[in-house]
C-alpha cells in the first residue's frame, strides 16, 4: 500500500514522546502499517532529532539511519521520536533537556533510562514496538522498570550508521516490545550487514523463538546477587531461575571476579569516548548558533555551556581528564585492562555454561529525584555494563513484581548467540505451560 499513512494522535500522558507524526507514511512488509517509535538519538530524515539536548534543537537530519531505512523497507510507520536522557547519559530519563517521562506502571517513578520514552510508549500501549539504544544498559534498564522486553544485541549485529554517537565501542541499537516474539521480529528487521558502519558484522537474524530449553546450562554468578541488590528483587529473580530449572535447564552457580571493577572500567571508557564524540557540537554545522563575532574558543565554550545539560558536561570533562597526559595510564589504560578481564571472565564462563542469568537492575524503578547524586546513579548500572564491555548479547524479560513494580530477569549469552538469549527469555515468558 504505497502512499498510505497511519494516523497517530496518542494520549501521551506519560510524556514518552518528544514529537509525533500525525500522519505517518507506511507500506507493506513484515511490519506493514505497524506503529514504531524511535529513540531520539537515531536519525530520521525530515523529522527533528535532538538526543533530548538543547544543543541539537531544530536539527533535521537529511538522511535516515540504516535501522530506520530497514523499518521503512518492511512497511513500518515511524510515528514519533521518544524521550531519553540527554545523549543517552543517564539511568532515569530525568536528564532530558525537555523534561522527564513518567513510568506508566507508577507515574510517581522514573521509567528508567536512557531509553525511557521508548519503554514508556510500549508499556502504556501507545505503540507495540520501539527502538532503543544500549550503551551500558539503556535498553534493558527501562525495559525492566516498565515491565517490557528489551534486547541489547551482540555488538556489530545492528548497524550504528545514523545513531548519534555517545560511546561507539559500547553502544548498540536494539528492539523493545511488550513480549519476546515481537522483540524478536523487530530485531530480525533491523539486524544485518551495513557497509556504512565499519564495525558491522555480516550476520543476519532469522529466528522464531523456541521455548525448548532442556539441557541448557544457566550460570548464575554470585556477584549478580551481591551488595546493593534489593533482597526482594533477588528473590523474584531466583524464583524465575527456578522456573527455568523446572523446565529442564541446568542451573550452575559461578563467580565473575571482574565485576569488582567493571563499573569503573565502563564509566572511564564511555566518558572518554563521549569527550571525543561530543566535540562536534559547536553550533557551526547544526543546532543553535555560536556567536560568530566572538573568538572561536570563547564562542564555542559558551555555546556548549548553554547547550549541554549538567550531566553531559560532567561526562565530557571526566573523559577529557581520563585521557589527558599524566592521567591516561591511571584511568583509560587501566580501564581497558579491566575490560579485557571482563571479556576473559565471560569467555571462561561460557566454556562451562550456555547463558548467564541474574537481575537486570539491582532495584525496582526509582522515585523521581532519588538518584540526584551522580555516583549513586552510576552504581545502579553495575549489572548491565558487563555485557556492553564484552560486546555479548543480553535481554531483559519481565519476571515478576515487588510491591506492584516490575522486575526484569537478565539473560546474557555468548558472542553472536542472540538467538539463545531470546529462546531462554521466551521459555520463561511461556511460564510453566510448556
Amino acid at each position: 500500500m504505497p502512499g498510505h499513512t497511519v494516523s497517530f494522535h496518542p494520549d501521551d500522558r506519560y510524556s514518552a514522546f518528544l514529537r509525533t507524526v500525525a500522519e505517518a507514511p507506511c507500506g507493506e512488509g513484515k511490519l506493514g502499517g505497524i506503529r514504531v517509535a524511535v529513540k531520539d538519538n537515531i536519525s530520521t530524515a525530515g523529522i527533528e532529532t535532538t538526543c533530548a539536548s538543547r544543543i541539537l534543537q531544530g536539527y533535521i537530519p537529511p538522511f535516515d539511519a540504516t535501522v530506520v531505512k530497514r523499518l521503512k523497507r518492511e512497511g513500518a510507520a515511524i510515528v514519533g521520536k521518544t524521550n531519553m536522557d540527554e545523549f543517552g547519559m543517564g539511568t532515569t530519563t530525568e536528564n532530558s533537556a525537555f523534561g522527564p517521562t513518567q513510568n506508566p506502571v507508577d507515574p510517581s517513578r522514573v521509567p528508567g533510562g536512557s531509553s525511557g520514552g521508548s519503554a514508556a510508549a510500549v508499556a502504556a500501549g501507545i505503540v507495540p514496538l520501539a527502538l532503543g539504544t544500549d550503551t551500558g544498559g539503556s535498553i534493558r534498564c527501562p525495559a525492566a522498570f516498565c515491565g517490557i522486553v528489551g534486547l541489547k544485541p551482540t555488538y556489530g549485529r545492528v548497524s550504528r550508521y545514523g545513531l548519534i554517537a555517545y560511546a561507539n565501542s559500547l553502544e548498540q541499537i536494539g528492539p523493545m516490545a511488550a513480549n519476546v516474539t515481537d522483540a524478536s521480529l523487530l530485531f530480525e528487521v533491523i539486524a544485518g550487514h551495513d557497509p556504512r558502519d565499519s564495525t558491522s558484522l555480516d550476520c543476519p537474524y532469522r529466528h522464531i523463538p523456541d521455548p525448548e530449553i532442556r539441557g541448557v546450562k544457566i550460570g548464575v554468578p554470585e556477584e549478580f546477587f551481591g551488595e546493593g541488590v534489593d533482597p526482594r528483587v533477588a528473590s523474584v529473580v531466583w524464583d524465575a531461575i527456578s522456573l527455568l530449572e523446572r523446565k529442564g535447564a541446568e542451573v550452575i552457580t559461578c563467580r565473575m571476579p571482574s565485576m569488582a571493577y567493571a563499573l569503573a572500567a565502563y564509566y572511564v571508557t564511555c566518558t572518554s569516548e563521549a569527550s571525543s564524540n561530543l566535540a562536534r557540537f559547536d553550533g557551526v554545522r547544526y543546532g543553535p548558533p555560536a556567536d560568530t563575532k566572538r573568538p572561536w574558543h570563547e564562542a564555542f565554550q559558551e555555546r556548549r555551556r548553554e547547550g549541554f545539560g549538567e550531566e553531559v558536561r560532567r561526562r565530557i570533562m571526566l573523559g577529557t581528564f581520563a585521557l589527558s597526559s599524566g592521567y591516561y595510564g591511571k584511568y583509560y589504560a587501566k580501564a581497558q585492562a579491566a575490560r579485557n578481564n571482563v571479556r576473559a571472565d565471560f569467555e571462561r564462563l561460557f566454556r562451562e555454561v550456555d547463558v548467564l542469568a541474574g537481575p537486570t537492575m539491582p532495584t525496582v524503578a526509582f522515585r523521581f529525584g532519588e538518584k540526584s547524586d551522580p555516583l549513586s546513579m552510576y552504581l545502579s548500572d553495575i549489572l548491565t555494563v558487563p555485557a556492553n564491555l564484552a560486546g555479548v548479547p543480553a535481554i531483559s524479560v519481565p519476571c515478576g513484581k515487588v510491591e506492584r513494580l516490575p522486575v526484569g530477569l537478565q539473560v546474557m549469552g555468548r558472542w553472536m548467540e542472540d538467538e539463545r538469549v531470546v529462546d531462554v527469555a521466551y521459555a520463561f515468558e511461556q511460564g510453566g505451560s510448556a
Partner: protein
C-alpha cells in the same frame, strides 16, 4: 596536563584543575558551578581508584574490528543538504567564529 594540586589533598583535584579541564574540553564553567563540579569529580575519581588494582590476567582476543572498505566514491549528501542545518552559511560555506 599537569594539574597544580595546590591547596588540595594529594590525589584530589582542585577548583583550579576543574577550570582547566573545562578549558581543555571547551566547556565554560561559571564561578558558581566550580565548587559543586569539583566535589562531584572527586567522589567519582575516588571510585575510579578501584582500577589501580587491575592487572591483565589473560589476554583475550578483541572481537570488534574496524572493517575498511575500498576507497570508492559513493553517493553522499549534496552541498545543499550538508548546509541545511547550519545556523549560518555564506556562499556555500559554513560560517564559524573567527579563529584569530
Amino acid at each position: 596536563m599537569q594539574p597544580s594540586r595546590q591547596g588540595g589533598i594529594i590525589g584530589m583535584i582542585t577548583e583550579r584543575d576543574t577550570e582547566h579541564i573545562g578549558q581543555l574540553a571547551d566547556i565554560a564553567i561559571h564561578r558558581e558551578e566550580l565548587a559543586s563540579f569539583t566535589s562531584r569529580f572527586n567522589e567519582i575519581l575516588e571510585y575510579f581508584d578501584l582500577l589501580d588494582q587491575v592487572e591483565v590476567v589473560e589476554e583475550v582476543e578483541e572481537r570488534a574490528y574496524n572493517i575498511l572498505r575500498e576507497d570508492e566514491v559513493t553517493p553522499s549528501l549534496s552541498q545543499e543538504e550538508a548546509l541545511s542545518n547550519a545556523p549560518g552559511n555564506e556562499d556555500g560555506f559554513f560560517k564559524a567564529p573567527r579563529v584569530m
